[in-house]
């Protein structure tokens, strides 16, 4: 794991990134995999909810809202 990787929750809005690792396991990990979040999947942070959490991400053509707890367990490399 290199320092260039940041948790998805810290990706600024409007920025694109590539998924590098999932650090969750069990059902939470499966749910992320079901979204197609495998290594090198491009993601983009789109929009925060009015109170700042969750955040909507563009993932494989779908818009998915993730709470910061989940997003912090996805490591990405910002582009």
């Amino acid at each position: 794991m290199t320092d260039r990787y940041i948790p998805l929750s810290l990706l600024p809005l409007g920025r694109k990134a590539k998924v590098k690792a999932l650090i969750s396991d069990g059902p939470a990990r499966r749910r992320m995999l079901d979204l197609g979040l495998i290594s090198d999947t491009p993601v983009e942070a789109l929009q925060k909810s009015p109170s700042g959490d969750p955040t909507a991400y563009s993932i494989r053509g779908a818009v998915i809202a993730l709470r910061s707890e989940e997003a912090s367990k996805i490591l990405v490399e910002a582009r």
């Binding site: 995999l33 495998i38 929009q47 909810s49 959490d53 909507a56 494989r60 053509g61 779908a62 709470r67």
Partner: protein, 716 residues
């Protein structure tokens, strides 16, 4: 005589799911797909009203079956719950997997969203791993065209090796072609050559170690390759389903379990630890989906979703997201209040006109007065009230609400409110079940099935009644209009009533958060579980379908229930009002008994009794109050809110009574149907009692505080 699946010997779920075949030539079709892809539109378009719903046996997952006829063959379509995968991460996915795998459908349709094909291909590929008798329906092709996305369905079909049919189910386009393709697959007129997905060498080798033995044991009844993969994955839910299907446990065979150990060791020798296999399998599927999508889908406009994003930026923005949500709610209430007044009056005039005719008829027939009283003044009048007060607001409210649903706004509400639910340690999907509660709390309680965590599901069930259902809206609207709207004049009247109603709903939502929080800190302690919320593309609503569906499914259903309950209740109340114990009627006697306590809450004995007698359905609370007042005193011709106001005021109602009635209506025990539903959903008497006690206690406390404060301050 219907042949069950058992007698035709095809389905495994026969001890569980019943499929009513009328002849052995009937074909069973599984309808699968991701959520939000228009699967139910396809289902409704093909089967029309020829369908029935129930539950998957032993599961809290809804099951719908429907029939259609095509080319002299009867098709029975089984609607599988919408899922993203068949990996059995939830009850829905388990049901979907088991039916596709062990239900032995003659064909499976996978409905996909043309605007988001890549994501949908994951489910397609997983289905193709289980069975080759698949037809892919690329739905919402019109939306894709609008977004300048083109899909080469011929190429997609060649790549996947099964028929692919583009459809626009909402406009009934492509359905004939879909039925033709399903017919060909079900009747085995085509030989599908489905894509085979090849995994890493070591996984393939592990599969080949156990696959031959599975084939010997299962005698070709199951897909060996897929079963081998699942055994390596060690999915416990699949093992139990397999055992049920085959009638024996595969792993009881020592040869197979030895081979399985060898295969697992082979995997770990090659660096694939037990937990990692699933990652590898999913990655392979996702990459295959990606490659197929790149090969068949062309985005002529890469910012195809820019309009949706722009709308989202407004509807879920920091500054405007929540205000817009409240405004939309207020607009819906305003349209309902303002729009319902006139038709309400017309229906009331009409129905009370009939009452007069009925009375004449009874008199001319020389019927005894008690019979006239019971049937006309008791049953008929209550019915007339319920219909004239309830029908117009429902006929306006439900279509408007369905419109928001159809547009795709509800997931945005969940998105906006999620943080509040998170802080209350509750599940984000509770926002959706709360919205369903606006229609009907019993429906909202059933809707809580979408929440997987049992703790959070209980919280959602116990707090669902804090949003007023449709049965309570008419009362809230009437009382709000008379006692809060009525205090201002003319043009401001419906505006003030709207504000009052929006306020009471906001209070209900706040109570939902508060009570959820209290529950998660006390008897239902725990942390919020993870969840994923999809914000689907906005869709152009289909006005016609909305009106038909909301009138058929909701308005008439709720009204029918209200009528069925109101008529006998009217009878009981009339009898109570006219049977005397000593000098006073039973009704007055009971009301007097409740009166001292009710006064503390800002109500009176009749009102409290109306709430108690209204247990079968909240809709009849106001009619009961009216009947009690009319029976116990002056006789009035009621045709409109002005008369109603006069009646209530003459029985001592003030603005405080109005406010307390609204508060108590918002917070008291759930109606009979909802209690029954909660009992069925929680399977626990304890939680059912809690669901009664919690809102009632909240209502009593809040009404007491409001009434005492107003009296102390000399406001009322």
């Amino acid at each position: 005589m219907g042949l069950t699946s058992q007698s035709t010997g095809t389905s495994v779920l026969d001890s569980e799911l019943r499929i009513e075949r009328t002849s052995s030539g009937d074909r069973v079709i599984a309808l699968t797909g991701n959520p939000n892809v228009g699967k139910s539109t396809v289902f409704n378009s093909l089967t029309g009203l020829n369908q029935h719903t129930g539950n998957w046996p032993g599961k809290t997952v809804t099951n719908a079956q429907g029939r259609y006829r095509h080319k002299d063959t009867n098709f029975i379509m089984v609607d599988i719950p919408g899922t993203y995968s068949l990996m059995a991460n939830s009850a829905e996915e388990e049901v979907a997997r088991d039916f596709v795998c062990f239900g032995k459908p003659d064909a499976a349709i996978v409905v996909t969203d043309a605007t988001c094909l890549e994501r949908n291909l994951n489910l397609v590929l997983q289905t193709l791993e289980i069975t080759d008798r698949v037809v892919i329906c690329v739905n919402l092709i019109d939306e894709a065209k609008r977004k300048k996305i083109s899909i080469d369905c011929g190429r997609l079909s060649r790549l996947l090796g099964v028929p692919v049919v583009p459809t626009d189910a909402r406009n009934k386009k492509g359905l004939k072609e879909l039925m033709d393709a399903v017919y060909a697959v079900a009747e085995k007129h085509t030989a599908p050559k489905p894509i085979s997905i090849t995994y890493d060498d070591s996984i393939e080798q592990a599969i080949s170690i156990i696959q031959p033995r599975i084939w010997e044991l299962a005698d070709g009844k199951i897909n060996n390759r897929w079963t081998a993969l699942k055994l390596l994955d060690g999915d416990p839910t699949l093992l139990s389903s397999l055992e049920k299907y085959l009638g024996f446990d595969l792993l009881d065979d020592t040869e197979l379990s030895d081979l399985l150990n060898t295969a697992k060791k082979h995997l770990s020798d090659n660096g694939i630890q037990p937990g990692e296999l699933r990652d590898r399998v999913v990655s392979r599927l996702v990459r295959t989906a990606e490659a197929i999508s790149n090969d068949t889908v062309t985005f002529h406009n890469t910012r195809y979703d820019s309009t949706d994003r722009k709308i989202d930026r407004i509807l879920t923005s920091r500054a405007l997201g929540i205000p817009i949500m409240l405004c939309l709610l207020a607009v819906i209430f305003w349209l309902t209040i303002a729009g319902a007044n006139i038709p309400s009056g017309i229906i009331a005039d009409f129905l009370f006109g009939i009452e007069a005719k009925l009375t004449e008829l009874f008199v001319s027939a020389g019927a005894p007065q008690w019979l006239h009283g019971m049937l006309v003044l008791g049953m008929y009048r209550t019915l007339a009230w319920v219909i004239s007060v309830m029908l117009p607001p429902m006929a306006i409210f439900f279509p408007l609400f369905t419109l928001l649903e159809d547009l795709g706004y509800l997931p945005r509400i969940a998105f906006n409110l999620d943080n509040f639910f998170k802080r209350a340690c509750a599940h984000g999907k509770q926002a959706l079940t709360m919205c369903m509660g606006f229609g009907c709390n019993a429906a909202g309680v059933i809707g809580c099935r979408i929440i997987e965590s049992p703790r959070e599901r209980l919280i959602a069930i116990l707090t669902n009644v804090f949003v007023p259902c449709n049965g309570r809206f008419p009362a809230l609207i009437a009382v709000g209009t008379i006692f809060i709207g009525g205090s201002t004049g003319g043009a401001f009247r419906s505006l003030t009533s709207t504000l009052a109603l929006t306020g009471i709903v906001t209070l209900g939502i706040s109570m939902t958060f508060l009570v959820s929080k209290i529950l998660s800190k006390t008897i239902l302690r725990g942390l919020p579980s993870s969840f994923v919320l999809e914000l689907p593309p906005y869709r152009k609503p289909q006005i016609g379908r909305i009106i038909v569906r909301s009138i058929l499914d909701r308005t008439l259903f709720v009204l029918g229930r209200a009528v069925a309950i109101a008529a006998p209740a009217g009878l009981v109340i009339w009898i109570m009002a006219n049977v005397s114990v000593g000098e006073v009627s039973l009704l007055t006697y009971s009301a007097n008994f409740l009166d001292p306590f009710a006064r503390l809450l800002g109500l009176d004995g009749y009102i409290l009794m109306a709430f108690i007698l209204g247990l079968p359905a909240n809709e009849i609370v106001i009619p009961i109050i009216i009947m009690s007042y009319m029976a116990s005193g002056s006789i009035l011709e009621l045709d409109g809110l002005a008369d109603l106001r006069q009646l209530l005021v003459s029985h001592g109602w003030t603005w405080l009574t109005g406010v307390c009635v609204m508060l108590f209506s918002l917070m008291h025990f759930p109606c009979g149907t909802t209690i029954w539903t909660i009992r069925k959903e929680t399977k626990s008497m304890k939680w059912t009692l809690a669901s009664i006690a919690i809102p009632t206690a909240a209502g009593i406390v809040i009404c007491f505080i409001v009434a005492s404060a107003a009296r102390l301050l000399g406001l009322a």
